[in-house]
């Protein structure tokens, strides 16, 4: 076979748009999920059993739906309940819902692993409630979860390919439309794969930077 580089070059703008959409969809939903995850982690760590149980059920429910199924639910099933969403909104809601469940769980685990002495020192110095959470707990938890969040972002980037099912023009969708128009599946999917690798490689680089930062916090715990 001949490698149709000409097609790829000609359709570069479409690949670029697809990549751009994948990047902003994942970046925005990651940020929103992280913020929502921070809100969710508080009830997850609540001393009240019922609060904790309810939050736990929600988070587990979110984590245990296949991403594709969740996409179907949001885009195809919600209209039956009278809630029709355009594909972009549906895509964001799906990404954020799915990912928030993971973020909350990741944050909870990091919080639970924080040495007890950290919050104890906070209390001894007059911290309580929100201020204790914000100044002493959250800052450390966010640094500690950096690498895990990065890995989750890689997962999210890959899962976002499913959004092509609801015709969101992200990278996989772009590759698919180029290959079906020109009948160049090998070239098109190879380019998409390389772009995903590049993207995840970038995230991976940040993960390693984050690991160094997390190590500083771990060692600073002093035992």
């Amino acid at each position: 076979m001949t490698f149709r580089l000409d097609v790829i070059v000609k359709e570069l703008p479409q690949f670029a748009r697809g990549l751009g959409n994948t990047v902003w969809l994942c970046a925005v939903s990651m940020l929103l999920s992280l913020l929502l995850g921070i809100l969710f982690v508080v009830p997850l760590m609540s001393r009240r059993r019922y609060v904790r149980g309810a939050a736990r059920a929600l988070v587990d429910g979110g984590r245990c739906i296949p991403f594709l199924l969740l996409t179907y639910l949001v885009y195809y099933a919600l209209p039956s309940l009278g809630l029709s969403l355009d594909k972009w909104t549906a895509a964001l809601i799906t990404l954020v819902t799915y990912n928030t469940a993971y973020m909350a769980e990741i944050l909870r685990a990091a919080w639970a692993h924080l040495p007890r002495g950290q919050t104890e020192a906070g209390r001894a110095f007059g911290y309580t409630g929100i201020k204790l959470f914000r100044r002493i707990i959250l800052a450390q938890v966010l640094i500690a979860v950096g690498p895990v969040v990065g890995n989750q972002l890689i997962q999210l980037i890959k899962d976002s390919a499913f959004l092509s099912i609801i015709t969101v023009p992200e990278l996989t969708y772009a590759a698919n439309s180029v290959q079906s128009f020109y009948f160049v599946p090998f070239e098109s999917f190879l380019v998409a794969t390389l772009l995903y690798w590049g993207l995840c490689g970038g995230v991976e680089y940040l993960v390693r930077r984050g690991e160094r930062l997390a190590a500083v916090v771990r060692r600073g715990h002093g035992h």
Binding site: G122, A124, F125, A139, V216, R219
Partner: protein, 257 residues
């Protein structure tokens, strides 16, 4: 000193149980301003719990704690005493400095960051004042050059000295040391004890739980010997170490000879 009749810290009938185990079995103790009181005793005797009851990190089951005459943990109300809110308790805790066995520095802040954190964010002091005082305190503990270092890059002894500066920055009425040198490598113990000795000489009110008998002997105004949750003996350092009044204190001290 002796002119001030109100104890900096007073404990009355303090009882603390963990399950059915009575860790503190009725503690009465008054620490006067300017005193350095060392609490010694075998491990498991309740020393740390006693210390942690003073600022209510551990909530006593019975008895009361007074900080310069203010009852800790309860507030007087029309219907009798009611439990303090978390916020009220937090404000009381700012008056008590604490130094922990494992330092518990906040690793996401520099040495100076640790020292100025609570004065700014809990006491609401202006940042420039907190920084100036923080730098002065770091200098006092011999770590002016480590101002911008994160705890991960400090030795245990340096971490503990930062932790002492952090406690001092709150200008506490009393400073509690919970086995401050027990987690340190032997060669690092001296630098921390030296700082503590200076503070005792400066006339700070200190309650020190320790296994360092040499320190207690040199720096303590009084020594409290605790065993099985009870105060067995209270005496001046000289009296306690030279002529302990009880057999149990004598046996305990034998091990440090």
């Amino acid at each position: 000193m002796a002119t001030d009749p109100i104890p900096a810290v007073e404990l009355r009938g303090l009882v603390k149980q963990f399950g059915s185990h009575e860790v503190l079995a009725g503690i009465d103790l008054a620490v006067m301003p300017g005193e350095t009181v060392c609490i010694v005793g075998p491990s498991g005797s309740g020393k740390s719990t006693l210390l942690r009851c003073i600022n209510w990190l551990e909530r006593p089951d019975r008895g009361s704690v007074f900080l310069h005459g203010t009852r800790v943990g309860y507030r007087r109300a029309e219907a009798g005493n009611v439990l303090m809110s978390d916020r009220e308790l937090a404000m009381l805790r700012t008056r008590v400095g604490m130094v922990f066995q494992h330092f518990n520095l906040w690793p996401h802040m520099t040495a100076l960051g640790n020292v100025i954190e609570s004065p700014i964010h809990v006491l609401g002091r202006p940042r420039h004042e907190a920084v100036a005082e923080g730098e002065r305190l770091l200098e006092k503990v011999g770590l002016a050059d480590k101002r911008d270092a994160y705890p991960a890059f400090l030795s245990g002894g340096q971490m503990q000295r930062v932790a002492i500066a952090r406690a001092l920055a709150m200008r506490p009425e009393v400073l509690l040391f919970d086995e401050a040198t027990s987690a340190l490598d032997p060669e690092l113990v001296g630098e921390v004890l030296a700082v503590m000795r200076d503070l005792a000489r400066d006339g700070l009110t200190m309650i020190v739980v320790t296994h360092e008998m040499k320190f207690a002997r040199e720096a303590a105004s009084r020594v409290v010997f605790l065993d099985k949750g009870r105060i067995v003996e209270v005496a001046t350092a000289k009296a306690f170490f030279e002529s302990p009044a009880t057999d149990r204190a004598r046996q305990f001290l034998e091990r440090y000879r």
